[in-house]
Amino acid sequence: MSGAIEYFQFVLAPQILIGLVIGIAVILVALGLTIIFGLLDVINMAHGEFYALGAFIALALASLGLPFWLLLILVPLVMLPIGYVVERGLIQRVFHGGERHVTTLLLTFGLGLVMEDSFRLVFGPNPQKPAVPITGGIDLFGVFLPLYRLFLIVGGAGIIAAVALIVYRTRLGAMVRAAAYDRHMAASLGVPVQHVYAGAFAFGVALAALAGVMLAPIYSVFPTMGRDFIFLAFTVVIVGGIGSIAGTVVAGLVLTQVQALSSLYISPVWSDPIVFGIMVAMLMIRPQGLFGRLGHG
């Protein structure tokens, strides 16, 4: 019996906690993706680069001497107008063409390339690591947990809850859901659909940027940081159901736990093939994902 407890305390629990930190972060990035797809029908291939942009803006502002806690608020606020302009200025240009899925995907893919190379141009190719804002740690069920990671879990969960509240319990969220369900009907009822679209896009990329700021002290900041992370976020979105908030949360937690726990038993290099395999299997069996789409049912 004591063997089982020790196994949990020293082997399972640390892995679960590490998985939870990654899970919360992936959910933050994936929420933006899923809201943008649920509402606009756009696969934002540049989402990982917006995540990186958040981290780089934080890095630049921190070098001006701004404290980390202020950046958590400031960076998303800076990202909102950027996202708004990208939606109005770029995505709307091809939005009404025949093959919206393909053209918007291609456009954001190109945008991602330009952004990634711009980071390399401006900030250089090497990883930079901001200082961890809270040091020290606590004992949680006998497991040592750095305080900053605890903050990520609690703060991230709070943000996720806030997003769900905004989408499902506010007038603004009702407008978003109405526009997702039927944009013409929503428009005729007086919902300013164009602004809702641009606003939702801005909101989505601001969430990704916020995740970038929060994770920067752990994973450090480099130009291709978005690329590896976004693959996982895409998988979470697909498994959870594109456009579903509940699905994103569930799939994000489950998939990162699968990743964390499977690496205990088989070499961690196989966790990526496993996760992508789950994504392919999900697309085959149930392409709409675990849960329904934003605004539908």
Partner: protein, 328 residues
């Protein structure tokens, strides 16, 4: 009487003839200046043009965006490398790649064609990603280093033979190979089968009412595209003497998609032109700055926004009009 579609394809053929003439002039120039580097680079550009051709079959005809065509390109490259290391024969590598890619694409096609639209893009992406990670972590396939030491081969045609080590000889061989792939694709896509694919792109719901099976057509297009990608990939180890997992990565698939869209989807020849132009652009811009992705990305975005029919879309209608019979 040729209809508008056939006439546009004839315009594509004419543009291909121009490309071949340019390539022959380039080869002559390469021989005259005793160049190896640029001939090798151009050969590589043609090999990747084959991959772009395969993406165009799916995107330009069936309207399906594959974000994982590198899966078959890499399959062809690895398989060809493995065969060549045992039996240094082009025909053995060719036969193995053609058979294996057809079988695997049939299985893969049954998986990916369960879904359509944006889900197709994502599932092809996911499959390629699984394959890339598996190869990257498999020691028997050289893991992250890839397979090194693929021998130089002589490609025998009975009467003549070409060495893969000869820059100009192998360049001309790859040129002929890609032109042949283009010709086969152009022929197949001009048959009733090709028209069915175009109809699929226009309105998939209507096809069954016309008495056709959508699944068979989609599967056939998928297998054809996969084989074109795999056979192009099979040339890669002959050129470079090694294969690496990068060939399977998303950037390889992504570059092919960029080439197709910039050249003009559904023109076939556009994919070839754009692949060659992109390689040229990379080496020209690359000699000034290492940030060529910004330039390519911006060009790509402008084509998506302003030229939905791609670069070939500017000139091809004019050529097709010239080819049209005069009616008075």
């Amino acid at each position: 009487m040729a209809d508008a579609l056939t006439r546009s394809m004839r315009a594509s053929h004419l543009l291909l003839a121009l490309l071949v003439i340019a390539a022959l002039l380039f080869a002559a120039f390469g021989v005259a200046t005793d160049d190896a580097f640029y001939l090798r680079l151009a050969t590589e550009a043609l090999i990747f043009a084959g991959l772009a051709l395969s993406v165009d079959i799916l995107l330009g005809y069936t309207g399906l965006l594959s974000l994982g065509q590198a899966l078959y390109f890499g399959l062809g490259a690895y398989l060809s490398a493995l065969v060549l290391m045992v039996v240094p024969s082009f025909w053995a590598a060719f036969a193995a790649t053609a058979t294996a890619s057809a079988v695997i694409a049939l299985i893969g096609g049954l998986i990916v064609n369960r879904v359509r639209g944006v889900y197709f893009a994502l599932i092809t992406f996911g499959m390629a990603q699984v394959a890339a990670k598996v190869v990257y972590n498999t020691r028997a396939l050289g893991a992250s280093d890839g397979l090194l030491g693929v021998p130089v081969i002589n490609i025998n045609f009975g009467v003549a033979s070409v060495s893969s080590a000869s820059p100009v000889g192998f360049f001309l061989f790859v040129l002929a190979f890609i032109v042949l792939l283009y010709a086969i694709c152009a022929y197949l896509l001009d048959t009733p089968f090709g028209r069915l694919l175009i109809a699929l792109r226009a309105n998939e719901q209507r096809i069954p009412f016309l008495g056709y099976r959508t699944m068979t057509a989609r599967l056939a297009a998928y297998v054809l595209a996969a084989m074109v990608a795999a056979l192009s990939g099979a040339l890669y180890p002959m050129l470079r003497g090694f294969v690496s997992p990068e060939l399977l990565f998303f950037s390889t698939s992504g570059n092919a998609v960029i080439a197709v869209v910039m050249g003009g989807a559904g023109t076939l020849v556009g994919a070839l032109y754009a692949s060659v132009l992109l390689t040229l652009l990379k080496s020209v811009v690359g000699s000034y700055t290492e940030h060529h992705l910004i330039v390519i990305g911006l060009l790509f975005m402008s084509v998506v926004i302003f030229l939905p029919k791609g670069l070939i879309g500017i000139v091809r209608p004019a050529i097709a009009r010239l080819l049209a019979p005069r009616t008075s």
